[in-house]
Amino acid sequence: MNLLAAYSAGGAVVWIVWVLAGFACIASAVAVVSFSNPFYSALALIGNLGSLAVLYLLLSAEFVAAAQVLVYAGAVMVMFLFVIAYIGPRSEPPWAGGPAWQTVASILAAASIFLEIIVVIGLKAGGQLAHTDHVNGTFGSPGWIGRLFLTDHLLAFEITSIVLLIAAVGGVILGSHTHRSQTEEASLN
């Protein structure tokens, strides 16, 4: 935020950036959901992550924005793409399968969740959420984040590392097992 705000000539630029990033974000999300090929969906998600990073920047979360690009776009998406490549992309019509009522109900459920949130936020938009404090320059900076991680949220920081470790172990177990020979499988059944 600090960076961008310094170069912006007032709110108008921010608005423009917001509109572009927000549009890109939503459009890529919709694309992820509606592409029939998972490969394209994964690529669309990268766009989504990127536009989100822009929004984070607008919200003065520099470090998070950086992490978003590094962790997600850099690591997670690579993993995705690797797996998709390994499996081989196969298409699937996005709205097919299952009873029609279920599709309709799904849309209704998702829409109602969205609407509820929107309505509540809309109710609050004029009041509680309208006013936002000024924050000082260090807000969102890596140093500030690091300090928080080591003081107030030390435990969370440690836990996060453990979660990643466990996931790694899990991934290894599930993804790396040796192939069983045909005879062995026959004897199993």
Partner: protein, 102 residues
Amino acid sequence: MLGPSIAWYLGISALLFGVGALGVLVRRNPLIVLLSLEIMLNGANLALIAFSRHAGNGAGQIFALAVMAVAASEVCVGLGLVVAIHRRRLALDVDRLSELRG
């Protein structure tokens, strides 16, 4: 604060959450379902960061960072499962994985 107020960001966040949920609800390819879940988590992340900005404290950002790690972990395990399913030569279709029911 310059530009749109927090509420606008939250609007995007809600929309992301809704679209992600829709993806989980309607898609059958587990890979795309996993991607949709990422979108949901990102929606939540956006809300966290927006609120963090709104409140002026760092908890939301820290939370968001942690969520990223969690999302990565889920993806890791999820992809591991997808690979395992693929190796069992099962269809990559959540509708076909319905042996357990009733």
